[in-house]
Point group: C2
Chain length 420, copies 2
Amino acid sequence: MTTVVEPVHIKEQARLAQIASKELGLLSTEDKNAALHTIADHLDANVSNIMEGNNQDLANGRKALYDEAYMDRLALNEARIKEFAEGLRQVAKLDDPTGEIVSQWTLDNGLDVQTVRVPLGVIGMIYEARPNVTADATGLALKSGNAIVLKGGSSAIHSNRAIVKVMKEALISTKISQDAVQFIDSTDRVATEQLFTMKEHIDVLIPRGGGKLIQAVVNHATVPVLETGVGNCHIYIDKGADVDKAINIFINAKTDRPAVCNAAETLIVHEAFLAAHQETLIEAFNKYNIGVYGDDKVLSAVPNATRATEQHWAEEFLSLDVAMKVVSTVDEAIAHIDEYGTKHSEAIVTEDKETAKRFKGLVDAAAIYHNASTRFTDGSALGFGAEIGISTQKLHARGPMGLQALTTIKYVMSGNGQIR
Amino acid sequence: MTTVVEPVHIKEQARLAQIASKELGLLSTEDKNAALHTIADHLDANVSNIMEGNNQDLANGRKALYDEAYMDRLALNEARIKEFAEGLRQVAKLDDPTGEIVSQWTLDNGLDVQTVRVPLGVIGMIYEARPNVTADATGLALKSGNAIVLKGGSSAIHSNRAIVKVMKEALISTKISQDAVQFIDSTDRVATEQLFTMKEHIDVLIPRGGGKLIQAVVNHATVPVLETGVGNCHIYIDKGADVDKAINIFINAKTDRPAVCNAAETLIVHEAFLAAHQETLIEAFNKYNIGVYGDDKVLSAVPNATRATEQHWAEEFLSLDVAMKVVSTVDEAIAHIDEYGTKHSEAIVTEDKETAKRFKGLVDAAAIYHNASTRFTDGSALGFGAEIGISTQKLHARGPMGLQALTTIKYVMSGNGQIR
């Protein structure tokens, strides 16, 4: 059954979020941290209410015959819900980016100029099945002084509704207005589209989920978008690469968590490396059950390889499959990445410093690796504490986005009558 | 006569710009500066060619009965063209933002993490009648390692064509490819719209001109946009404000250059200030020929004032006219600015520090002034050397945008086989 919310109501929710964001932006770090702890305690105390909602979603999911991976993303249990709470407590520990004086100088006429870090205002979070995003995104938004409008996926609506109810009840006893957290209680796609153009009330949209969702937001939103994370990531193994490093890095990037955006999707191998280490590579494919889709040279070198189509080069497998291409030069590898990459994470394995330098300079992506796995493009791996997504666009924030990505700056000028 | 360029050709131009941007991004600061000097010298040496193009535009403009201000923005002369050249030499003197290591740390496993400042890639510049933008934007783009696609206004097409011809001829003897500067030689609106969705080749669009142009880009572009500068700026004079400071700041912000975006468009006055200094204010209006559009309280206080309509509150006059509102509290002033402001520059004149603090905290704009004129929201006034526009959006860059706004960062990771 589709839950429909009137467009007028959604606009009113966004307007209320905007009003709440004003005083929230002026709260002290201590007040915001106290609120995060209160929310965390309420989540801990309301596991059963949240599980009730989640059970409804899981029952509907079974009826809809969702696959196992999808059901796993959707499923909550006591331990997972306690992780949400713990996540909020971790965010409370992080430095508050707002209020920071980023730069300060005085003009010759005595005018004091400061750039001060301030919240963005209202964040519109559009996401899919994972109910953990509801709590995580709210924690990051509130800590950075922003109100949040949450539009989760239809399949998780009962879980999300229950989580938001608990969080909003918690806010009553804090200095943050309940209005700072708005839940679009709708499974109607039109509700999401309403948010795309609500420029007067929403400062930024963050879509998080599959490529189709992200593209829908990018293509139709007039609200500025922080584009997150489809990762068609490549590992390029250069001629003369250290064979152990090369295989380890590829296997880690491909198999550690195949369904995430920083996993490798295409292996590009220099022909000289392939000639020297063909057997080792094939052994690794077999040992880890990796299915290979390749070009002509791959087909003649790798047993059981299947011919790669345009789709294999262009899209994420998010499984143990990999596309594989053989090249004669690093520039050929760079050109392939240019054509098919999604500007997420790209790696070169080489012992040649000049080749590494060229790869780092010419490949256009959020993260470029020399002799390391692409799996490190991740807020927690890099020490950010928490992330709201990984930006694959170039403006504002690139790569893993933590609290600072949810802020902007404001010029604050103090004078005693200066005119021009 | 409309000059039409085939869509396919525009796409090809953007593709060539993108290819050129790759090696341009790797050039040394010295090579880029040398190229800027060569372009400047060629502009100096080709004043007559550029004037020939400009004369055609001016003749067409006279036929089209453009107003004086418009004709003034369009008109070139030897001195103005030499200013373009001098501007490029000034940009050559500025620090090169690219290559800067913004941050660097080492993970426990030894992986070295750097964030390095890099060019955006290809900038799409969409602008109106001012031919100086053609040279200025090109200089800023090239200095920051970016290729540029220029789409100027139809009324300046002969001027722009001539300027670009000179610049591209100059590039032949430099290390920057001629392809790094692309001129969309078209007066067809469809050509501009083509650029809106050319995400695969253009990294950012910068619209510069009137509100309609900017809104068209914001509403229809899927390429990320750096939204520049409509400024419906307010001066709020608080109760107990110093009368000299207040009048000086208002007169400067209103009359120094009424047609620019950081000029004041609305005066908000606390009722107590109005009661105390009504005569002084009226004298100032009369002395500077300022036309006043006001609310009821203004109509009864200011002779010859006209009733303000919604349009007067919401839009820029860009003339010596001003909208005027009387309020009883600073919060009423803030609420008015919230409703009608364009998040550009907002000023308070007050001697009360707490009131100033509340205004600075609650007003949502790129620049907030306490006891100073809004006219300082300007790259050159703030010491940036040059600006590509003033951002009124919150993402990426806010306020005057110099070279750094034309860059992004890239995570560059160097390891010796690290896996997760």
